[in-house]
C-alpha cells in the first residue's frame, strides 16, 4: 500500500458498527482468527500460569502503582509530546507532533514493557529472566531492568545480529546479562526467539520468558500491549492540553508492532482518529527483501500465534530484510493482523532508502537522530503531511533514538566513521 491511497482515504474511516475495537483478545487469546496459543504441550501450563498471574496483577492497584512509580522515576515518563515546528514548516502541511519515547531511559519504548514484565516475574517468584533480541534494544532494556532488580538475565541473539549490533551486545554485558549467540537458522531475531522458547521448555520451573513485542502466545500480545499503552494514554492527555482535542492521524513504525499498538490502542474507539502503521519495505516489496508481513505476507502460525508471516508456498518461514534491525522480523503482532483485516488501521511501507532520507531530514531539521525504525514512520509522515491541511494534528511515535544506528547509517551512506 502506498502513501497516496492513504491520503485519499482521508477523512478517517467511520466506525463499521462494532461497539469497540478495544476488548480483544477473547478468553482464548484470539483477535478474530489471529493470535492464540500455538505452543508445545510442555509450555502450555507455563503460558496458562503467566496468563493467570497477569490477570491477577492487572486487577491489583499495588501492581499498577509499582509500575507507575518506576515508569516515572526510573524510565523518566511521561515522555514529552513535542511540536516539531521546523519539520511542520518544511513539509508545509499537517501540524506534526513527535511522541518522544526515544528520551526514555535506554533510549526506546522497549523499557515500558520490560519493566512491566519483570515486575510480573518477581510477583510470580521467578528467579531467572530470558529474552530474545534483534537489534539489541529489547535485550538492553531487559538487561537494564534485570540489573535494577538483581535478576540473572540471559539474552538470545542471532549470530548475524550480534555482528551488526555490537555496541548493544557490549551494553548488555556491562549490565550483567549473558548474551547467548544463536547460530541456528539464519542467525536473526526469529531464530533468537526459537532459541529462547527452547530454553524456556528446558527451564520451566524458575524461568520467565520476557518477550519483547506484541507477538508470541497469549497472553503476551495483550500483556505487552497493555504495558505499552502508556504511550497512547500520555499522548491523549498531552495533546488535549496542547490543542484541546484528539489527534487526526497517528503514525508509528511496525516490526512486531509494540510501539504502534501502544500508541494506537487508546484511540481505537475514536472513529475520527486515523491510524497508520509503517512497515519496512527494505529493498522494495517487489524484491522479496523486506519485512512487510502485513503488506506482503500471508496468514500463518509461528512463535505461538497466528498472524501475517513472510513465508513461501510450503509454509516455510522466509527471512526478511530491513536496514532497521528492529523491524527485521518475518511476523507481526496478531492484533495488528486483526486491525488490518478489520480496516480500522491502515498499513503502509517504506524502503531502506526512504528511511535513510527521513533519518537525515530529522537530524538536520529537528536536531534529533531518530532510530532507523521510527525513521520509517517519519518517511511516511513526510509523504502524507504536505497533502494535509495546517490544522490537521498528526502524532508520530519517535520510539527510539538513533545513536545505535550511526555505524549502519554511515555504511549505507558510504562514509567512514
Amino acid at each position: 500500500m502506498t502513501g497516496n491511497t492513504e491520503t485519499q482515504a482521508y477523512p478517517a474511516r467511520a466506525t463499521d458498527g462494532r461497539n469497540t475495537f478495544r476488548t480483544g483478545p477473547d478468553e482464548r487469546g484470539h483477535f478474530g482468527i489471529f493470535g492464540g496459543r500455538y505452543v508445545a504441550e510442555t509450555l502450555m501450563p507455563l503460558i496458562l500460569e503467566v496468563e493467570q498471574a497477569y490477570a491477577e496483577a492487572r486487577q491489583d492497584p499495588a501492581f499498577a502503582a509499582e509500575f507507575e512509580y518506576y515508569l516515572r522515576h526510573y524510565v523518566g515518563r511521561p515522555s514529552p509530546l513535542y511540536l516539531a515546528e521546523r519539520l511542520t514548516r518544511r513539509l508545509g502541511g499537517a501540524r506534526i507532533y513527535f511522541k518522544r519515547d526515544e528520551l526514555n531511559h535506554t533510549g526506546a519504548h522497549k523499557i515500558n514493557n520490560t519493566l512491566g514484565q519483570v515486575l510480573l516475574a518477581r510477583r510470580m517468584g521467578k528467579s531467572r529472566i530470558i529474552a530474545e533480541t534483534g537489534a539489541g534494544q529489547h535485550g538492553v532494556a531487559t538487561a537494564t531492568v534485570c540489573a535494577l532488580f538483581g535478576l540473572p538475565c540471559e539474552v538470545f541473539m542471532g549470530a548475524q545480529d550480534i555482528e551488526r549490533q555490537s555496541p548493544n551486545v557490549f551494553r548488555m554485558k556491562l549490565l550483567g546479562a549473558t548474551v547467548r549467540p544463536v547460530e541456528a537458522g539464519s542467525g536473526t531475531l526469529k531464530d533468537a526467539m526459537n532459541a529462547a522458547l527452547r530454553d524456556w521448555v528446558g527451564n520451566v520451573e524458575d524461568t520467565f520468558y520476557l518477550i519483547g513485542t506484541v507477538a508470541g502466545p497469549h497472553p503476551y500480545p495483550a500483556m505487552v500491549r497493555d504495558f505499552q499503552t502508556v504511550i497512547g494514554r500520555e499522548v491523549r492527555a498531552q495533546l488535549h492540553e496542547a490543542e484541546g482535542r484528539l489527534p487526526d492521524t497517528l503514525v508509528a513504525c511496525i516490526g512486531g508492532g509494540s510501539n504502534a499498538i501502544g500508541l494506537f490502542h487508546p484511540f481505537l474507539d475514536d472513529p475520527a482518529v486515523r491510524m497508520i502503521g509503517v512497515e519496512a519495505a527494505g529493498r522494495g516489496l517487489d524484491t522479496g527483501e523486506h519485512c512487510a508481513s502485513l503488506s506482503a505476507g500471508e496468514p500463518g502460525v509461528l512463535h505461538g500465534n497466528r498472524t501475517y508471516l513472510l513465508q513461501d508456498a510450503e509454509g516455510q518461514i522466509e527471512n526478511g530484510h530491513s536496514i532497521a534491525a528492529g523491524l527485521d522480523y518475518p511476523g507481526v503482532g496478531p492484533e495488528h493482523a486483526w486491525l488490518k483485516d478489520s480496516g480500522r488501521v491502515t498499513y503502509a511501507s517504506v524502503t531502506d532508502q526512504e528511511a535513510l532520507a527521513a533519518f537525515k531530514l530529522c537530524a538536520r531539521t529537528e536536531g534529533i537522530l531518530p532510530a532507523l525504525e521510527p525513521a520509517h514512520a517519519l518517511a511516511h509522515v513526510a509523504r502524507i503531511a504536505p497533502e494535509l491541511p495546517p490544522d490537521h494534528l498528526l502524532v508520530m511515535n519517535l520510539c527510539g533514538r538513533g545513536d545505535k544506528d550511526v555505524f549502519t547509517v554511515a555504511a549505507a551512506l558510504g562514509e567512514d566513521v
Binding site: 482464548r28 492464540g36 496459543r37 500455538y38 505452543v39 508445545a40 504441550e41 510442555t42 509450555l43 502450555m44 501450563p45 507455563l46 541456528a184 537458522g185 526469529k190 531464530d191 526459537n194 522458547l197 527452547r198 521448555v201 528446558g202 520451566v204 500471508e298 496468514p299 500463518g300 502460525v301 509461528l302 512463535h303 505461538g304 497466528r306 508471516l309 513465508q311 508456498a313 510450503e314 509454509g315 516455510q316 518461514i317
Partner: protein, 286 residues
C-alpha cells in the same frame, strides 16, 4: 483400545506378542528425497514397529540441534509436503501394515490447507498426526478434518501436564498418547528410568490408549528400559545423528546412511524386544 486402523491393529498385535513397540523417527527428505525414500522403506524390515516421519519446518521450536539440522537438510534438498506424501505412498507399495505417523509443526499444514492436507495424507497411507505446536486449546481446526479422513491425532503429554489438565489433553486423542519424558527439546537430556514408570502409570489412569515414550532415548539399553514400562519407545535424534555422521562437510554422503540407520534401528529393535514387560499394555488393560 478400539478402532481398526493400522495403529490400533499394530498395538493389538504388540500386546498379543507381549512386547512394546519401537517407534523410529526420521525427517522426510533427509538428507535428500531419494535416500530418505530408501531409508524409510527399509525401516519395517530393520525392526521399526511404527514409523514417525517428520515434516520438515524452517523453525522447529521444540527440536534440538539434530532435528533442526535434519529439517534444514531436507528443505535444502527440495523436500515439499507433496514429496513427503509421495514418500509414504512409495512405502505403501511394499508395506501395507506398518503405521506411519507424520510429525511436524502447524504452519506447513495450515498453508497446505487443513482439509486438503488430511485428505492427501490419508490417501498416501498416513495413519496419524503429531503436531507439536497444536495443543488441545487450538487443535480442533485440524482434528475435525483429520478425524473425518480417518487419521488419528496423537496427544502429547509433558512432565508439566498436571493431573488437572491431563484429561483435557488425552481426552480428544486417538491412536496413542506420546509422553514427552523430559521438560526440554528433542535430542538433549534423558529422563531417569525411575521417573518414567510413575509418569506412565499416571497417564494410564486417565486413558486406555497405548502410551509411547520419547525424548532423550538414544541407546538399545534405554529403549529396553522404556519398553519395560510403556507400550512403545520413540527414538529420533539418535537415528538422525546416524544420518548426519554419514555426511561430509558439504552434505553429500561419505558413508551409507541407509545401512547405518538400518543397523542402528535393528539394535534398537533388539533392545525393545528384550524388555520384560512390567505393566500390562494399554490395550484393554486396567
Amino acid at each position: 483400545m478400539t478402532g481398526n486402523g493400522r495403529l490400533a491393529r499394530r498395538f493389538r498385535r504388540l500386546s498379543a506378542e507381549g512386547r512394546a513397540g519401537l517407534v523410529t523417527f526420521v525427517t522426510a527428505g533427509d538428507p535428500n528425497p531419494d535416500i530418505s525414500r530408501e531409508m524409510v522403506c527399509q525401516l519395517p524390515t530393520a525392526g521399526a514397529d511404527i514409523i514417525e516421519l517428520g515434516m520438515p519446518f524452517s523453525d522447529p521450536m521444540a527440536d534440538g540441534p539434530a532435528i533442526q539440522q535434519a529439517s534444514l537438510r531436507a528443505l535444502r534438498a527440495g523436500q515439499t509436503m507433496a514429496r513427503t506424501f509421495a514418500q509414504v505412498a512409495a512405502l505403501r507399495t511394499i508395506d501395507t501394515e506398518t503405521p506411519v505417523v507424520l510429525m511436524g509443526y502447524f504452519n506447513p499444514i495450515y498453508r497446505y490447507g487443513v482439509d486438503r492436507f488430511a485428505a492427501d495424507a490419508a490417501t498416501a497411507g498416513v495413519d496419524g498426526l503429531i503436531v507439536v505446536d497444536l495443543p488441545p486449546e487450538e487443535h480442533d481446526e485440524l482434528r475435525l478434518p483429520a478425524t473425518a479422513a480417518g487419521l488419528d491425532l496423537v496427544a502429547l503429554v509433558a512432565p508439566t501436564t498436571d493431573d488437572a489438565r491431563l484429561p483435557r489433553v488425552v481426552g480428544p486423542a486417538s491412536g496413542f498418547v506420546y509422553y514427552v519424558s523430559i521438560a526440554g527439546i528433542t535430542g538433549t537430556a534423558s529422563a531417569a528410568a525411575a521417573d518414567i514408570a510413575p509418569a506412565v502409570t499416571r497417564i494410564r489412569r486417565t486413558t486406555g490408549l497405548p502410551i509411547a515414550v520419547g525424548f532423550g532415548i538414544r541407546t538399545p539399553e534405554q529403549t529396553a528400559a522404556v519398553a519395560a514400562v510403556a507400550d512403545a519407545a520413540v527414538v529420533g535424534s539418535a537415528i538422525v545423528d546416524r544420518i548426519a555422521e554419514s555426511l561430509g562437510p558439504d552434505g553429500t554422503p561419505v558413508a551409507d546412511p541407509v545401512a547405518s540407520v538400518g543397523e542402528f534401528v535393528a539394535a534398537l529393535a533388539a533392545g525393545a524386544r528384550s524388555a520384560q514387560r512390567r505393566t500390562a499394555s494399554g490395550a484393554g488393560a486396567e
